[in-house]
Structure formats: C-alpha cells, structure tokens
Subunit: 453 residues, 2 copies
C-alpha cells in the first residue's frame, strides 16, 4: 500500500457496482432460474473470463472482433515486435504482437471450446447451464453495458426435438416462478425456406428473410411497408401475396400439414403438439431470429404489458464444436436476458417484498457497558440458526433507523441495564417501531425458528 | 460466425475450466460460507471485473503493479500516442497511453472505491461480503492461478472489537460446517511493538519483525536460527533473550496483563476473553501477518492434519477509504482462501458424498416410439417439484451407464411398450442396477417428494 495517491474514484464506463439490495434481487432471478435448470437435469459449469484471442477471434463477425476486450501481454510486451510492425503505427497489426488474451464475449464460444477440450469427461447429451459476466466494448447506453451477465442452458449432442419441448417448459416454469407474464414465440428456420419455395421465391432469399424479420418493427410500417420493399427487390405482386398468405395463415398448424414439405411439418408438429393448449406459446412463421446462426427451432420471449425488446431467446444450431475441430454435434439452447428481466421486474414491481439479505433481528446496545451481554444474546440466536445482528455503530437513533431501513431488518430489541438484569427482551417491529411483546431468549428462539422455516 | 478457422483449442495459461462435479463442490464451499456470513448480518455486493487503472495502480506495491492485467483501449489505441513516446519503444511509458482499464487484482481496493462512491446508500457500519474472481499475471504453478476466486467479509466504519469476536465466530462456524478441522491463530499488531519496547529494541524494528515472521519457517531453523540473525542484526544477547521470553510466555494472557501497556492489553483481552475455552483459537504473539497493512488484530487459519499454508487470513486496517479521498474509516476483515480450502477438502476427503448437481431419476425410453410417453412421466415428476430427466442420447447401454455415472444420478426407470400400457414403473438403483420395486406415478411422486425434502 505504498505511494497512495488520492484520486476521486470512478467506474470504468459501462460497468456497474451493485448495492446489497440489487444483489439480493439479482440473486432471486439467478436462483429461480438455476433451480428450474437443475430440476430438468442441467448442470452448472464455469469457464474462465480470460480466453486466448485465437479462441475468440473470427467467431463473431468483423463487428464482434472489434468489440473484443484485448489484454496486454505481461512484462515488456514490445520486446518481440518486429521493427517494421512498430514503425507503421498500424494498431491492428501491432495488436497481434502485444495482446494474445481477451475477455470472453459470450458463453457460447467458450462452451464450444469446453466441449471439445473436456469431451472425455462429459456426459452426452451434455446438458449444461452457465451464468456469468461477459464483456463487450460496445458504446454504453441505457440498458447496455460493457460488462453484463449472460445466462444460458444448452443441450449438446442430441437431435431429439424433445429437447426443444423441455427448453420451452423451462421458459414457462422459470418465468412463472419469477412472476413475469410472457409470450413465447417459436419458429423453425427450415419453415421459412419452405414458405419461400411455396411462394416461388428462388432469388434474393437472404434479402427477403431480412425484410420479413422487420415485420414487427414500427419504423418499417408493418406488412404494407415490407410489401413495398419486397416489390422494390423485384418480387412480383403475386409472389408477395402468396408469401403473406402463408405467413398469415390463420390456422398455422393446419397450414403446415397441408402445404409444407412433410419432414419440416413433422418437425414443427412434434414440438407444437405439446403446446396446443398453452396460450403463452405461439408458433409464429415470421420469427426469423439469428438468421445466419440458427438452423432449426428458434425462440423469442417477450414480457407482456411492458415496452421492451425480447427478454430471452434461443435456437438450434449445428456444428457448434466444428470451429475447434470437434466432431459434428448438434446443439440447442436458450438464453435468459438477465439484465432486461431485472428491468422488467422493477418496472412491473414484480420482486417479492420480502427479498432482502438482511437478518431478522437487530439488537441495539444502549451503552458500551452492555455490549458484551448483547453480543451473547445475538450469538444465542445465531447458534439456533437465526440470523441476527448487534449494532456496533453510531449511537444516534437516526443512524440506527437508517441502518434498519437500508438493511430491511424487520425486528429490533434494545438492550440496557434493565435487560441485562431481567433477561427479558422487548421486541419491536423495526420499521414501524411498534412494541410487539416481551420475550425471554427461549421464547425469542421459538418465535423466530418458526419464521425462519 | 463467418470465416471459421479450425484450431486446436487450449486455455490461456493459469486459467481453468470447471466440470459440473467441480462446480458442485465449489458451490458447496461458497454456499456454506455465504449462509454463515448472512446469519451474521453481512450482505453480498458486487463490483465490476474491469476497473480503471488509476483505481488499481499504486495500491499493491511495485510488484503488484507489474501483475495487473491491463486492457488495450478500444479502436485505434495508437491514435493519441505522442510520437516520441512511440519511438522510444519504452513499454512502460506506452502503456499509459494505450491502456486505461485493468482487471481487479483483489476485492479490497474495489471495496474502498465502492464505499467512497456509494457512501450515501450504504448502512454503517457497513458489513459486506464479496465472492468473485480476481486476476494476477503471476507465474502459474501448482495451486496458483492467474484467475482465481477471493472470498472476503469486512466491516467498515466500526472500531468496536466485538467485530473481531464476530469474525472469529464466523471462521469457527464456517469451517465447522465445511468439516475442516482448523487452528485459528490471532495476534494484535500493536502487541509486537510493545514487546519490542519491553525488550529495549528501539532500532531496526521492521527488520526484527520481518525476522520474527519467519519463526515457523523450517528453512530459517526456528528460534535458534532467528536468534543468530537477530544478533547479526546488532541486537545484544540480553535483548534477544528478553524478546524470546516475552514471545514464549507460557501464560500469554497473564503476561499481557502484567507486562504490556494497558491499552493494548485491554484490546487483546477484550477479544481473547470470548475464546478462553475455545481450543481452536490461539493467541500467538509471533504471528506477524501483513506487516505493512494491518494495524490491529490479525488472523491466520490453518487446516489441521494437512501440509498446506494458511487457508484463511485477515486483520484490522485503518484508512482503507483514505486512498480515494474518503473520510477516515477503520476496517476489519477476513478472507477465506477458497482454492486452498477446496484442495484441503479434496485431500482429506471432506466433501459430502451426496454432492452432485444431478437429478434424482433418469427415465430411459427403450425406443423412439415411447419417447413422448416417457417425457410426460418425467414432466409429471418435475411438476411435483422432483428433479428428473429423460435420456435422449445414444441407445447403447454403455453410454447410458456412463451418463448415469458422470451425473451421479441415483435412480433410473426404463420405459418400453409394457410400461406405456401398464403405467407401472420398475425403479432401479442406477449405480448398482438393482431393482427396488414397482410403482405407479403417484407412488413415485410420494416416494421422491420425501427424499427431496
């Protein structure tokens, strides 16, 4: 701790501190989702924050590569830079010589590396979940951070569509437990290819799909706006009409059975049959999500009654592990957008009021002479498994009440000479400061053992 | 996912992947310690992994600064480097221009920053715990990583020595719950200053203390070896004798009362009196820990019956927040050395055998035709809150058994056409493959609801 410079401290941009109350709420979200993952047989793994840049680079497109945080090599990192590389002052070239590590950008590429490297020690199908921070050098803005959490569950190495059913059940159960009302939209990427075939659209498929993906964006003016763009792209009015007829088919599942290639129809139906009576799950042929990545089922989850983008999403992808020379393995996974789920729950006031990290009881010694006695009372409660605290701070009532409020402590007991003599304690509701009765220690333990359980 | 290069993947040095079974064990340690922290009124906080380098630099000495991981600025980081800084090829100077962020080195400096920045929103005394990864560009070796977890609990803004008592109780309770037999050594930094005074040692105090800190190091040959060094340092034989008499005093507490400045004696006694009958807590005047950092009580915890350095340590320090211009606040805190505690528990086989992230039951469909039925049975168990899985992988028995073993799943049920017809399920002990009886779903739910609870 030598050479202490006094500076006014600040956070690096796009990063956050979390107050105890915020951590309690975030843990409520994490713990709820984790318990559902575990019930379905998903196991938690962990991978390092730091990965070799060769593991990360080239996996997220050119834009993604720019957003990777790169870590300077240790020691004299200029030592081995060839002179010409140095003279150019070309930062892109120099980076290859002075940084070989970076911070993970998501949990998916590390998963691929993990599966290839640990294959022998993993059960297959490998059902894992992973919750942890990722880092992106994005421009920070409301709701977008440079350091944020991802929360993923994936099944690697099973093509069974029952995985899709299970993952949908996990979405339903997790959001129900969180108290968030959601609509889960699903689609199958193969279906849109079929619909383009039926509509006789053979060219510019990617451009068409990209446009269809904008159907729910206000700024594209819905179907009318997209239709104009499609025609501008060279589609005939008749093809455009057929296309929208397919997409708008009232009875989507009947349409699939009648019109679409049987293999695709079978695939969609084998999943959708489980949700025929489930109003929260919609099959939506206009859902395009993750165009160049997903190869089968895709999900997108939105919270009802709040203006916010998707709060969860996922899909099936092929060849996850191929990028690291692993054997071809199909994967399917879902993500929970933790940061947005937090915002939705705040906005709709969905966090249980009882969420707090605080203990049940605060004991306040009225003077220093009774502190040791007070401590022993608190310790008796703790020995009985009951969370309790002794207040060892400023003696001003005002400070004590701030403490109680900041920590959401429900009950308090003040200790003075009388209490030391009698060992009878006056219990107060700490928030309202109302007297709730007098108890000896045995009675207090009995009372709060019940509350705790 | 464009331009996929196939590379043989590897980890960045000094980092680790964790398998599900390892995560389960680490979570057991974390959860156990967290529950004790919470019971004592400590609240969890979180700070970002990325901090400004100006926050981190100069806090850990010159050696520490070298071990900070520095993050390259985004975009063209060479743009604003003055030409002369660039031509020098002096990496230390260049670093100031191309890296303004780094990875946190510990959880203590971020705590100081956090307290100063969030002061208005925190309860005081502020009792927080924090468990999370930190990063150091140390040379990796057995048990030493570049990315590893720290686990700290601190009280900021209270000089009461009852905090010391509470933190010692936390150590006792946490290690008891973990099943690790420990010896907790305590000392007070002020005491050694008094002992030097009593021994008439007025010069070279720091050198003397540094030597005394080596008393338990084999390579320094104990008291004999240290005595020689002290004499070499210029101490008289008589001063050295007095010094060792003080340190070796059989009845340490009596010695304190008789010989030492009353203020210090009072301080030590006010803590030690709570542990007079506690054989796991020893007051040891030779414990020097954290020489230039701690200003009062210090702790060091070792596991009994295993050759390993300290597995936990802590102390009282003054002026934590001063480095960031905060008002003077005394702090006291303890750390758990998570990585070493893990190693000790592995070596002594202390992890409960029931630790696993796996579900209770695996249902194995014998053929694809019964998968949907099997899924519904599994779902019925999950709806009753019971963790269960359907096996959707390779049909080979061998693969199924590997799955069961890897995930430590205790029970299994195979489903074929007969089970679909009868809805009666033959339950097997999955590890031993013994039949345990036949059950309908209601009976299964009843059986495992009990097990779960």
């Amino acid at each position: 701790m030598s050479e202490i410079r006094k500076i006014k401290p600040s956070l690096s941009k796009g990063t956050r501190d979390f107050l105890p109350r915020e951590v309690a709420k975030r843990n409520f979200i994490f713990d709820t989702i984790k318990s559902v993952f575990r019930k379905y047989g998903f196991e938690e793994i962990e991978t390092p924050a730091i990965e070799k840049l060769e593991t990360l680079t080239g996996k997220y497109g050119e834009e993604g590569d720019k957003l990777l945080f790169k870590i300077l090599n240790s020691g004299d990192y200029l030592k081995d830079v060839p002179n010409d590389k140095f003279q150019n002052q070309n930062y892109k070239e120099l980076t290859n010589y002075i940084a070989e590590k970076g911070l993970r950008y998501d949990l998916t590429v590390p998963l691929a590396r993990y599966v290839v490297m640990n294959q022998e020690n993993l059960p297959f199908p490998f059902k894992r979940f992973h919750i942890g921070p990722v880092w992106r050098a994005d421009r920070p803005q409301k709701g977008r951070y440079q350091e944020f959490y991802q929360c993923d569950a994936d099944v690697i190495g099973s093509t069974s569509l029952l995985n899709e059913v299970e993952l949908t059940m996990i979405y339903l159960e997790a959001f129900e437990k969180l108290g968030v009302n959601v609509t889960i939209r699903m689609n199958n990427r193969k279906l849109i290819d079929e619909i383009l075939n039926i509509s006789g659209i053979a060219e510019n498929k990617t451009a068409v799909i990209t446009l269809l993906d904008k159907l729910d964006k206000v700024e594209w003016k819905g179907e009318k706006g997209i239709e104009q763009q499609l025609i501008a792209l060279g589609l005939t009015q008749s093809k455009t009409n057929t296309l929208f007829d397919c997409l708008n088919s009232n009875n989507y599942l009947q349409f699939i059975e009648k019109s679409v290639n049987t293999e695709v129809a079978k695939e969609v139906k084998s999943v959708s049959q489980f949700f025929e009576k489930e109003s929260r799950v919609l099959f939506d042929p206009t859902l395009m999500r993750g165009l160049d990545y997903y190869t089968g089922t895709v999900w997108e989850v939105r919270a009802n009654g709040v203006q916010m983008g998707s709060i969860a999403a996922g899909g099936r992808y092929d060849n996850l592990t191929e990028m690291f020379g692993g054997q071809n393995m199909s994967g399917v996974g879902i993500s929970f957008g933790i940061e947005r789920i937090y915002d939705v729950m705040e906005e709709l006031n969905l966090f249980p009021t009882t969420i707090s990290q605080g203990v049940l009881l605060l004991f306040v010694p009225r003077e220093e002479a009774v502190e040791a006695f007070t401590f022993q009372q608190v310790q008796a409660l703790r020995d009985a498994g009951i969370g309790a605290e002794i207040f060892l701070g400023n003696v001003k009532k005002q400070k004590q009440f701030k403490y109680i409020e900041d920590k959401d402590i429900p009950y308090m007991v003040e200790i003075g000479e009388n209490e030391v003599k009698s060992a009878i304690f006056r219990l107060k509701n700490a928030q309202k400061r109302e007297i709730m009765g007098e108890f000896n220690m045995e009675q207090l333990i009995a009372k709060f053992s019940k509350t705790q359980a």
